[in-house]
């Protein structure tokens, strides 16, 4: 089974701090994603990476950056955390093989609170 592991389930940080959320997958997937989930808004894509050192902005990239130095690891960085970034953050991975389009596999999420 694919496993996507997010380093923290719950995290509390202060306004202005630099925050790192880590995600690791064990299936050698090319694609990795970071979403935030807010009530009534579903999941919104922050950033997407389709290969090591490659990244693409999603729908709401402002205030975030990402890092993918190794294929299995995808980090989300809040450069200067603000209270409106309090949310549930979900990491996912998938394989882009067009012969059998693969669904995404999700981690359990990190509930981040910015005080």
């Amino acid at each position: 089974d694919v496993k996507v592991t997010q380093s923290s389930r719950y995290l509390v940080k202060r306004t202005g701090e630099k925050v790192f959320l880590e995600c690791v997958q064990d299936m050698d997937h090319e694609n990795m994603f970071w979403y935030r989930q807010d009530p009534g808004l579903g999941l919104r894509l922050i950033y997407f990476s389709y290969d090591v050192k490659m990244k693409e902005k999603g729908d709401i990239p402002e205030g975030y950056s990402v890092s993918r130095e190794k294929k299995e690891r995808f980090s989300l960085i809040l450069e200067s955390a603000s209270t409106n970034q309090t949310s549930m953050y979900l990491c996912a991975s998938s394989s882009p093989q067009t012969s059998d389009n693969q669904p995404q596999h999700f981690g359990d999420g990190t509930r981040l609170s910015i005080l």
Binding site: F33, A92, P96, N101, D108, R111
Partner: protein
């Protein structure tokens, strides 16, 4: 542009009753569609997927979904709901092979 609409934000059904969750999509090409379930405090679990072929798709936990191209719909159904089905359900569209568009979700409450 692509979109996914789940018109029901909350649904309450009695245990043992049938369930149908609605999903409408907008996409100019052949859609690849998924349903995911999220239990409280958990990540998302894949219930079923549609790529092509049979328009009635069977999934895990007794769920099924029917793809109707003429109605741009991919509704999720279950003949008899169990209390453990209480969760949030997301309809998802895959486009450009790599990108996923999520509906806003439907929260299911199950009455004893």
């Amino acid at each position: 542009a692509q979109s996914v609409t789940q018109p029901d934000i909350h649904i309450t059904v009695s245990e043992g009753a049938s369930l149908e969750l609605r999903c409408n999509y907008s996409y100019g090409a052949t859609p690849y569609l998924f349903w995911y379930v999220q239990s409280p405090g958990q990540g998302l679990q894949l219930l079923l997927k549609y790529f092509s072929g049979d328009t009635l798709v069977q999934g895990i936990k007794g769920f099924e979904a029917e793809f109707k191209r003429s109605q741009s719909s991919f509704n999720l159904r279950k003949p008899s709901v169990h209390w453990s089905d209480a969760a949030e359900y997301f309809c998802v569209l895959l486009y450009n092979f790599n990108k996923f568009y999520f509906g806003s979700g439907t929260k299911l409450n199950v009455k004893p």
